[in-house]
Amino acid sequence: MCPRGEPGAAPSIQGRGRARPWTPRAVAPSWPRHALEPSGPALSLTPDEWSALRLSLLVASVATLGSLIPGLAVAYLLARKAFRGRALLDGLVHLPLVLPPVVTGYLLLLAFGRRGWFGAALAEVGIVFSFRWTGAALACAVMGFPLMVRAMRLSFEAVDPRLEQAAGTLGAAPALVFLVVTLPLALPGILAGAVLAFAKAMGEFGATITFVSNIPGETQTLPSAIYTLTQVPGGEAGALRLTLISVAVSMAALLASEWLAHRARRRLAA
């Protein structure tokens, strides 16, 4: 699962070959010499930058896909059901939106760190979050969750319950009604929620760096890499390249979701 083997041995953003004092885990680079030279056009990415991009896409995808089912469940509960503790759940879901990301990251560290509340028990069964890319995905999922739930909840609320009733009178059990009526009708909002969460995950910085640090190849996502590059002399070109890539990926995600939502809406209207 780990894209680059042991975190400690992972290659790092090198700022054109300089050693980096900013991370205690930085080790001497072990890749071929030519990668250290500023060769080729300025727009081509260094292996480290590629690694940050790949890692970001992986982390954001896993965070989005992983929070999809819980997101749908919570959004549906909040949109349709009256139950004890509803306000509490609502508040809990929205907490990452209003807390400083550093606080969320620190809470995650307390909970899922190696000696955390759940971290120790999870480590027993082989699930480790601390200082792993999986931890970055968890942090991104938590931070994107409120955005995802808000969009999905709105779209569930917009589905006419009378259509669900009609499907019920035709013999569809509630679970089937959800699958074949509610879910397809809420699809534009569900897609929007997923894309928002993905975009948020691509840009998440505070909670991630607090929870899983900034380990190149393991937890160094695009924002962390950009941050690192801005901290070292000569890193501006790399920072700019990664910034452009960030913008492009986010734009592509937004356009893709707009297109999908448009198609879904057209299906309803035509």
Binding site: D160, R162, L163, Q165, A166, A167, G168, T169, L170, G171, A172, A173, P174, L176, V177, V181, P184, L185, R267, L268, A269, A270
Partner: protein, 372 residues
């Protein structure tokens, strides 16, 4: 056979109604707010009453005392809503087959038969958003039928449509009654629809059953019908097409009451309705005159000899005179002054006079085979 008894209170509104019905079409009639829709929602299982019992064809669907409550999706009760409620993300064909997929295997009409019955053949590939109101309602009816229901509930299926669309759908519903063999509970506040379709009428008023019985008996009673609809009350006659008079453009209908001459009846294709076809004719009480002698110099073509059975209406300007003509009963709405001047009373031999022009597409509906 349907047996329903419900006690349900929501806010200031209390529904306390019970009825049993045998026929093919039972109409629930009443002004808005009388509890008709709540009552059908209870039958369908969409509303959970505080106390109640619903039995359809011997199957108990709800019995609060015995703790029986079959969930909506297992009741197998078709529901045609006022607003169609087609699933917008599915095609017409998928909408029609939705309930079919979920229904237990067995007898029942297939897609082709239902499409033919309701004239849906050309719509199958379309999406609900592209349909007219009338088309949507026809698809909704077909969808409910294909789920093979024990009972079909129709909650004012025509109320959201304009007059032209109503006239388009009504024949299909009549055909449904005659061909689909599914008992129907039809909710309406329009006398014309009830007269055209129902065998049994249950009148609701303020959450209670004000009257229930065979359609012909209930529709005679203007006092049961609210406001504007009171003028629509009258006799319901079952007649047969006897002959067409091409020269004058008239059709003669024969029945227990005698012969009626009405404007020529045509089927939807424009051809004269076949002789022998049975038709339901509503004779509005306000269209009937009463004469003591057979009028000879009057333009009205329908003069039926009969005997006054009863008088109703002790106050106000109007009185309703029930006249037995042969085996049927006509009602005439006349002034109380006329009753007084003519000395009308039970047992008095009179002539009921109806203008042929009083009959129109709204008051005449074919019972079987052909519609106009």
């Amino acid at each position: 056979m349907i047996a329903v008894a419900v006690a349900h209170r929501r806010g200031a509104f209390a529904l306390e109604a019970a009825f049993t019905a045998e026929g093919r079409v039972t109409a629930l009639f009443g002004r808005s707010g009388s509890g008709k829709s709540t009552l059908v929602d209870v039958i369908a299982g969409l509303v959970r009453p505080q106390a109640g019992r619903v039995v359809v064809d011997g199957v108990t669907l709800l019995d609060t005392r015995a703790g029986v409550r079959v969930p909506v999706h297992r009741r197998r009760i078709g529901y045609v809503f006022q607003d169609a409620r087609l699933l917008p993300h599915l095609s017409v064909r998928q909408n029609l087959l939705f309930g079919r997929w979920l229904a237990p295997r067995g007898e029942g009409p297939d897609l082709a038969a239902v499409a033919e019955l309701l004239g849906l053949g050309d719509l199958l590939a379309r999406r609900p958003a592209g349909l007219s109101g009338g088309e949507r309602q026809r698809v909704a009816i077909g969808r409910a039928l294909l789920a093979r229901p024990r009972l079909l509930l129709m909650d004012e299926p025509l109320a959201a449509l304009d007059e032209a669309r109503k006239a388009e759908i009504l024949p299909y519903v009549a055909r449904l009654r005659d061909e689909a063999r599914v008992p129907i509970v039809y909710v309406s506040h329009a006398v014309a629809e009830v007269a055209r379709l129902a065998d049994t009428v249950v009148v609701l008023d303020g959450g209670r059953v004000a009257a229930a019985g065979p359609a012909a008996e209930i529709l005679r009673r203007a006092d049961l019908f609210p406001g504007r609809e009171a003028g629509e009350a009258g006799a319901l006659l079952h007649l047969r097409v006897a002959a067409h008079d091409e020269a004058f453009g008239l059709t003669r209908l024969d029945g227990a009451a005698g012969s009626l001459t009405v404007p020529r009846l045509r089927d939807p294709a424009g051809a004269p309705v076949r002789v022998g076809t049975s038709v339901r004719v509503r004779v509005r009480a306000r269209d009937v005159l009463v004469a003591l002698e057979r009028p000879r110099t009057l333009s009205a073509r329908n003069i039926l000899a009969g005997t006054v059975v009863s008088l109703a209406g002790a106050e106000g300007p109007h009185a309703a005179v029930e006249i037995a003509c042969g085996g049927a009963v006509l009602v005439a709405q006349v002034t109380r002054r006329a009753v007084h001047d003519l000395g009308l009373g039970p047992g008095r031999a009179v002539f009921a006079v109806v203008k042929s022009v009083a009959f129109d597409a709204e008051t005449i509906g074919a019972g079987t085979e052909v519609e106009i």
